[in-house]
């Protein structure tokens, strides 16, 4: 995962750096997918169309982004627009109304999740792997234990230790205006 800021990635993409484009897709693929599939509850086909349309628009219109630091809200808004278009095309206007109330809450939750995922990418590989396996891939202690050749107790303690490191990574650095990822508290966007 590229450690560049969003603004740096955008600048490199504009300069034609294809590695930067791939890093941008890696960074936002889960977010776009979650907005389409979880917030707007689109089915697999519609989610795929929205997913591809969002990245196509981002690729085409990156030059029009006025604030390079605003990549995340821009991608969120683009995904919302594409998802609503998809619902309307499929004649599901009623569904749009049904999900509207949940959308802001859902997007806030995903923004927070994206911030946590970004912090995860800054951890040591050992922590990234075990947290990725346990939380993102939903692997059991037994599977992780077998794959990594570790006793189950070690898997559990490593997950706990790595979660603590991740929590520390989410603490605001002095001079940065970011609240911690505390219980029930919204994590600020890191841009």
């Amino acid at each position: 995962m590229d450690a560049a800021t969003d603004a740096e990635l955008v600048a490199r993409c504009r300069a034609g750096d294809e590695a930067a484009w791939r890093a941008l897709v890696d960074r936002y693929a889960r977010y776009v997918y979650a907005i389409a599939a979880r917030v707007y509850r689109l089915g697999p086909e519609d989610s795929e169309d929205v997913f591809q349309e969002v990245f196509a628009r981002v690729f085409e219109r990156l030059g029009t982004l006025r604030d390079d630091d605003a990549l995340r809200p821009w991608i969120a808004q683009t995904t919302r627009n594409c998802a609503v278009d998809s619902l309307r095309r499929s004649g599901r206007e009623i569904a749009v109304d049904e999900v509207l109330e949940d959308i802001d809450e859902g997007l806030d939750h995903l923004d927070e999740a994206l911030t946590v995922h970004a912090a995860l990418e800054r951890l040591a590989p050992e922590c990234r792997e075990i947290l990725d396996r346990f939380f993102r891939r939903d692997e059991s202690y037994r599977t992780i234990s077998a794959d990594l050749e570790l006793p189950s107790g070690t898997v559990a303690s490593r997950i706990a230790r790595c979660l603590t490191r991740l929590r520390d990574a989410l603490e605001p650095e002095p001079g940065r205006n970011q609240p911690p990822a505390a219980s029930g508290e919204k994590v600020a966007e890191q841009r």
Binding site: R30, E48, R136, L166, A181
Partner: protein, 81 residues
């Protein structure tokens, strides 16, 4: 809920999209270059242009390009400009 439990929930909140979708998005720069080659050929080759007008999706398939809705929409927009 502890901060760690809260973080665990956040980690689970973003599902992994199918690998093929992500790879297709990553390949956009190369795919766009390929489409531009097709647009140039449409502009200079009358027979090719007629094939594209008659059946854009079939023409794309014959050129080895998957005519996804996004690709077809992009090509139509390019041809209109």
């Amino acid at each position: 809920m502890t901060p760690e439990e809260h973080i665990g929930l956040a980690l689970r909140a973003l599902p992994t999209p199918p690998t093929g979708w992500v790879e297709a998005a990553k390949e956009l720069p190369a795919a766009r270059r390929e489409l531009e080659t097709i647009v140039e050929r449409i502009e200079r080759d009358v027979q090719f242009r007629e094939r594209a007008i008659a059946d854009l999706e079939a023409m794309l398939r014959s050129e080895g390009v998957e005519p996804t809705p996004v690709v077809v929409a992009h090509l139509r927009r390019r041809l209109e400009t």
